[in-house]
Amino acid sequence: MQMTLKIRRFNPEKDAEPWWGEYQFEAEPTDRLLDALNHVKWYLDGTLTYRRSCAHGVCGSDAMLINGRNGLACKLLLKNLGSRITVEPMRGFRVIKDLLVDMEFFFDKYRAIKPYLITNSPEPDQERLQSPEDREKFDDTTKCILCGACTTACPSFWANPDYVGPAAIVNAHRFIFDSRDEGKEERLDIMNSTEGVWRCRTIFNCVEACPRGINVTRAIGEVKKALLFRKA
């Protein structure tokens, strides 16, 4: 199929302002958008800059704004996006070069929720037991690949960049609902802070944006509920 790819470009070493690059080429309808970006970089303009690695939706490198919605370039096929596609960097993070944004800010929020199992009890010689039912309670939120698509799709985050954001809450949920974790109270305190979970206005953009199909809003709701029914 004949493709037109319109890409928001910005190179701080050259450009005063961002500009739109337009690229036309032949592609297979079953190609991924990432294949199309690679085609532009490899054959039309070698200066085009973006992140990519696994190319099948598990590493989280290539989240971007695609036809106005967040997604992973390697998980979307051209035939489902149309012959004219607009690609921009994710909203709300500082643009460094073309589609590549500053992720430090995002990982700071992740680190703030203590994203690791906290235990005080002695470890058994073998595994801790956990029933399949208990394991299931946080299964959905273990899928997160930290791509940033949910947080940068969230109007509450755009309005207030200090908001911890859906991705960090998803990762807090993953531990709060893990029967083995003993750090629930400290994490709930973080979630209960001014920039915590209450900033969520249940807009559902995050659910739509998540390339892993995580029901982010439900996870946020479960964290809110845990706070409401918390023993004082």
Partner: protein, 574 residues
């Protein structure tokens, strides 16, 4: 800019993070990675990590050891395999204690499932040994290890690309890396360095490997005179999505899927009557190639079908959700109802930087270590995989030997001072970058890379012979000439990803050379190295490891013996 640390980890996948975690309480430690750590390819591993926990049925590390040795076609060093299989068990418990969300048995134990080549009682029948978290075990390992490193305050340099290894007075003295954000060179001066940079599958056109897997660590040490071991052994995983190479885990077959040719025949019955579709990967990949060659590919094309239709939606959604999603996303196929087109995909380098059982890099046939230098994971060759790796053993390898490297390095940094550093440690890296950035050449890097990948796939993949390998050797000369004339369009400093792609391509060409020379010299068929002109294994002449050095006159080969302890080489049948 010079940074000083006690220890450096290069690469932040499972092996690197495990080594970093072990070192974190023993000194100042930094992990340097060209990606954000959570982007590492460990995260793409699906099916599980092998350990004889015996949670469903009787199992023993000795059985795991036998399977690994037999799977390796007897090329693995058996002392190392013994460590792998013994320590796999405590390593899996460690992961669980660190919070890894394993799938569970009804009693709440870690769930296990069958995997290719893993058997009970020395080959009698498949055994449930692969400990899994749905079909995203690697993702969970990567997340868990990264979480633990954050907890233990490992210092990360994210998006720094290592260009050179520093060796001073016979000791490893650190590395030079390019900061992608600024384009500046940074010297990292340290007592110990652990390379854990992963594999090099991007030298082939059809691969399960991430774009980032260009063998940087292997190439950087090779260029500093350190040999690479057994690089002619490259694993092709039988079930990559046709044309795209995206992996469909062996767990699919572990859960009962089967391979079928154009007649609908379950052809593995003819190739491996006991283990059938769960035979080791080298055998299944060869069987698929044979079916295709003999005209039994689907529609006369070069693929066969993976049949998951009888598993039912519940098994697919509960146990194989990610690969089910891949099939739906990339092929538009419903795996509960339709057959999936698959072909072998370049997956794993059995070879790599030679190490001893503590991850110390050994630089010659006499196992002489280079003090302060370590390697672990796919970039290393201990060798626990020999000529063919069993499924699940890569995750065991990264953790067991990542840990041993980290622990040994922790002792090393206590007992040693910082080595001297030359006056101009960045000189060589500066030259490489300056040469590439000032190139006036006209050859597109993408064209050169495509030639390399297509030719390697055609001439040096599942089947090889002297004719195809000699032809590949000639092609590589041509590719090298074209590379000398490579074109650069981005001459900027910040996030110059074109410059990096060209650097990575240079490494891939060096590694392809090593693979081809090793394969030409090895006049036998063993594991993943299948020579049509020498179809039999030849223990009398080739029960030995290849060491390939990059010298002024190209690749020079040497050999070292295989360590055999418990299991004498026998014919390999399944």
């Amino acid at each position: 800019m010079v940074h000083r640390y006690d220890a450096l980890i290069i690469g932040a996948g499972g092996a690197g993070l495990m080594a970093a975690l072990q070192l974190s309480s023993h000194g100042r430690v930094a992990a340097i990675s060209k990606l954000y750590p959570t982007r590492s390819h460990t995260g793409a591993a699906q099916g599980g990590i092998g350990a004889a926990l015996g949670n469903h049925e009787e199992d023993h590390w000795e059985w795991h050891m036998f399977d690994t040795v037999k799977g390796s076609d007897y090329l693995a060093d058996q002392d190392a395999v013994e460590i792998l299989c013994r320590e796999a068990i405590e390593t899996v418990y460690d992961l669980e204690h660190w919070g890894l969300p394993f799938s569970r048995t009804p009693e709440g134990k870690i769930a296990q499932r069958p995997f290719g080549g893993h058997t009970r009682e020395f080959g009698k029948a498949p055994v449930r040994r692969s400990c899994y978290a749905a079909d995203r075990t690697g993702h969970m390992i990567l997340q868990t290890m990264y979480q633990q490193c954050l907890k233990n305050q490992v210092h990360f340099y994210d998006e720094y690309h290592v260009l050179d290894l520093l060796i001073e007075q016979g000791r490893c003295a650190g590395v030079v890396a390019l900061c992608l954000a600024t384009g500046e060179l940074h010297t990292f001066h340290a007592k110990a360095v652990v390379f854990a940079t992963g594999g090099c599958g991007r030298m082939f056109s059809v691969t399960s490997n991430a774009h980032a897997l260009t063998g940087d660590g292997m190439g950087v040490v090779l260029r500093r005179g350190i040999p690479l071991e057994d690089m002619e052994f490259f694993q092709f995983h039988p079930t990559g999505i046709y044309k795209m190479g995206i992996l469909l885990s062996e767990a699919a077959r572990g859960e009962g899927s089967v391979l079928r040719n154009k007649n609908g025949e379950r052809f593995m019955e003819r190739y491996a009557p006991t283990l059938l579709d769960l035979a080791p990967r080298d055998m299944v990949s060869r069987a698929i190639y044979r079916e295709i060659r003999e005209g039994r590919g689907i529609g006369g094309k070069n693929y066969v079908h993976l049949d998951m239709t009888h598993l039912g939606r519940e098994v697919l959604d509960m146990k194989l959700p990610d690969i089910t999603d891949f099939v739906r996303t990339y092929l538009g196929i419903e795996p509960a109802k339709e057959l999936i087109p698959v072909q072998p995909t370049a997956h794993y380098a059995m070879g790599g930087i030679p190490t001893d059982n503590d991850g110390r890099v050994v630089i010659d046939e006499k196992h002489t270590p280079l003090p302060g230098l370590y390697a672990a994971g796919e970039t290393a060759c201990v060798s626990v995989h020999g000529a063919n790796r069993l499924g699940t053993n890569s995750l065991v390898d990264i953790l067991v030997f990542g840990r041993r490297s980290g622990r040994h390095a922790a002792r090393f940094i206590k007992e040693n001072d910082l080595p001297p550093l030359s006056a101009k440690p960045e000189e060589r890296s500066r030259e490489i970058i300056a040469r590439l950035l000032s190139s006036q050449g006209q050859e597109r890097g993408a064209d050169i890379r495509e030639s390399l990948q297509n030719e390697m796939m055609d001439k040096a993949s599942v089947f090889r012979d002297a004719g195809t390998l000699m032809a590949m050797r000639e092609k590589l000369k041509e590719i090298r000439d074209r590379y000398a004339n490579v074109k650069i369009e981005d001459r900027g400093a910040k996030y110059n990803t074109q410059l990096l792609e060209i650097f990575e391509l240079g490494i891939l060409i060096d590694l392809a050379d090593v693979l081809v020379e090793g394969a030409l010299a090895r006049q036998e068929s063993r594991g993943a190295h299948s020579r049509e002109d020498f179809p039999k294994r030849d223990d009398a002449n080739f029960l030995k490891h290849t060491l390939a050095y990059l010298g002024p006159r190209g690749i020079q080969l040497a050999y070292k013996p295989v360590t055999v302890t418990r299991f004498e080489p026998k014919e390999r049948k399944y």
